[in-house]
Symmetry: C3
């Protein structure tokens, strides 16, 4: 990246809308570095009065985000694992609890942590390209989505769809994702940014204060659950991911990814 930030922020002060683009090729993997940048950018927008809405999207063709960078979870010290997990939590806390109206413009595949980012926004638009997939597919890697990933999914698609989706680690096509309510709307790929702006205008037509209180009424309990168990959740993650069996699973998966590339 030669020093260029992997998080491109463009704030239209007149509209009050920031567009945040992830640009960490090849797959916008959520490394500790990217998470740190992204949280910093989100916090700045959160603190900026001129900003009322946020569109989250990708600058990497074909991928929204592949989720957590798997290299951050393999062969790392407990301290580093803990630092990484705290950053993942922080991203979710910022996005899921944002005072801003948030629209995900999912312009590419969005598995695992990528799906979580989309789930944390107020509205999800996905490019209707059958090559793209979205879902919490953790079980396929032999790992388990943490409880707050689960809660965010459950609040979006309901208990039954969440049960099946999480156990099977299902990755959905845009049409399937739309059908179960995992995304709110499908658009042709070339129109996704324009449509995100239109949708945002609809959200910003509502007085901020009333919208924010309504959002909080529906999300506070889910957010508080993590906030109250944040340290325990970090310890759970570190302990789980450090297990020999899990490290071996991750190694296998990484080798498979390398072979795919080659």
């Amino acid at each position: 990246m030669s020093g260029a930030s992997p998080v491109l922020v463009e704030l239209d002060e007149r509209a009050g809308v920031a567009v945040v683009r992830l640009q960490q090729p090849p797959v916008n993997g959520l490394s500790l570095a990217l998470l740190t940048e992204l949280c910093l950018a989100l916090q700045k927008l959160e603190d900026r009065r001129a900003c009322r809405g946020l569109v989250l999207t990708s600058a990497v063709p074909g991928i929204f985000s592949a989720g957590l960078d798997i290299t951050e979870m393999f062969g790392r010290s407990e301290e580093r694992l803990g630092e990484f997990w705290r950053a993942v939590q922080q991203l979710w806390i910022l996005l899921y609890g944002s005072r801003l109206a948030t629209v995900a413009a999912v312009n590419g595949s969005s598995p695992a942590g990528g799906c979580l980012m989309a789930l944390s926004c107020d509205y999800r638009i996905m490019a209707d390209n059958p090559k793209y997939k979205i879902g919490l597919n953790e079980t396929r890697l032999g790992i388990v989505a943490p409880f707050w990933f689960k809660d965010a999914l459950l609040n979006t698609v309901g208990h039954r769809a969440a049960e099946r989706s999480l156990q099977l680690g299902l990755l959905y096509s845009p049409q399937e994702a739309f059908k179960i309510g995992l995304v709110d709307e499908l658009v042709p790929e070339e129109k996704i940014q324009a449509r995100a702006a239109e949708v945002m205008a609809q959200w910003l037509a509502i007085p901020d204060h009333a919208r924010q209180l309504s959002k909080s009424a529906l999300r506070k309990q889910t957010l508080d659950h993590l906030l109250m168990h944040r340290e325990a959740d970090i310890q759970d993650f570190v302990r789980f991911i450090s297990r020999d069996a899990i490290q071996k699973s991750l190694q296998k998966y990484m080798e498979m990814l390398k072979q795919k590339k080659a």
Copy 2:
């Protein structure tokens, strides 16, 4: 109204069914007076052994109920505001927890508190007239639906639809409302009362005791939430609605309504 009651009650003792019609032109606004009458009528039916079912509908063409009478919230003393809010709570407690089988025959528009009344019944039939709208549109007025409005909506349409619906203050056409499950059935306007009677017969075919226990099993927790925080909820309302910013919002809205009429 020249002393006529705004709440018309017709009890068919043979069928065990009462039809309650709101008749407070122009929009069945829930004033303190109407709320008091309505709660009294509902309590009487609740206490009357001959009554097993209740159809709630409107005698004012084109409107089910426009919800809380906004003049009750503007420029009032704290004491009066508290009295008003207690009556709103009481209406919901009576309807949502009724031992009766309750069917809403939504024969007109039904925003905000009107929607809440419909949500509190066991079954909702709506006249399929695209001019009619239903929904919790509080945020559009700069105010926020209280938590028990939110809970009643959430129990009906699920978490995701509730999030979007409440934040955007969405008003749905009958077709849209049916699609998200906000109403159970659409019928041509002229058939709504006959259909309500048919549906009621289906509900009354079930032994009361078993039906009531099943209803309570699904609603008690939601009801208890308000019952246990009733005073705090009144204080929250009084404090919130008394704010300068909110009073100004309400004033603007009232002026807009006046201009519409003129």
Copy 3:
């Protein structure tokens, strides 16, 4: 039955899949004897390392299970009623909390306790025969589904459908059941066992440990609710079912069943 077990277990060790067939004519009524056999069989499979998945189905044509054997609830001592109810609880605890991937192949009608068994599996396939019905129809008999029946339904079809379904004691055709999500898939009757095997293969493609943790994350709270109130729930059942009014309801129902047969 001449001593033959009413629970047929066939374990394919290579596939890691057990097929459990209920064979208690005429309707696979859940008597204390059948419950005891079934729980024993389930516990054995649970403890057997070679077993990873379970298909639950019926060997009696046209019926999956008619649910609790009503003769177990009529004219019995409190002690016997308590023993019976504990066995019903045990069946649910085993099925709903199973470490195995569980698929219900619902090849016949499945009211009340039969429906509960299906609801407790991870996936439900139903034979698309319009003569078959499925649902928690307890209120039609004047009784009430216990809270954990309600919770299992609620986790499957959501709050609104559960409210209507439980209050009215609705029995759904396969098409209706599919529409509200009470079953996941419909297949021609002759293909149901083959399809169950296919679906099971999909579930077993996921590493057991990750699948089990995901399942537990979504079911533990519901399970714990019963586990923590198990004795009180037994007392509630015994007290409720012993009431004169309930015993009379059951008697009426049994006489109606006898007349139907004759």
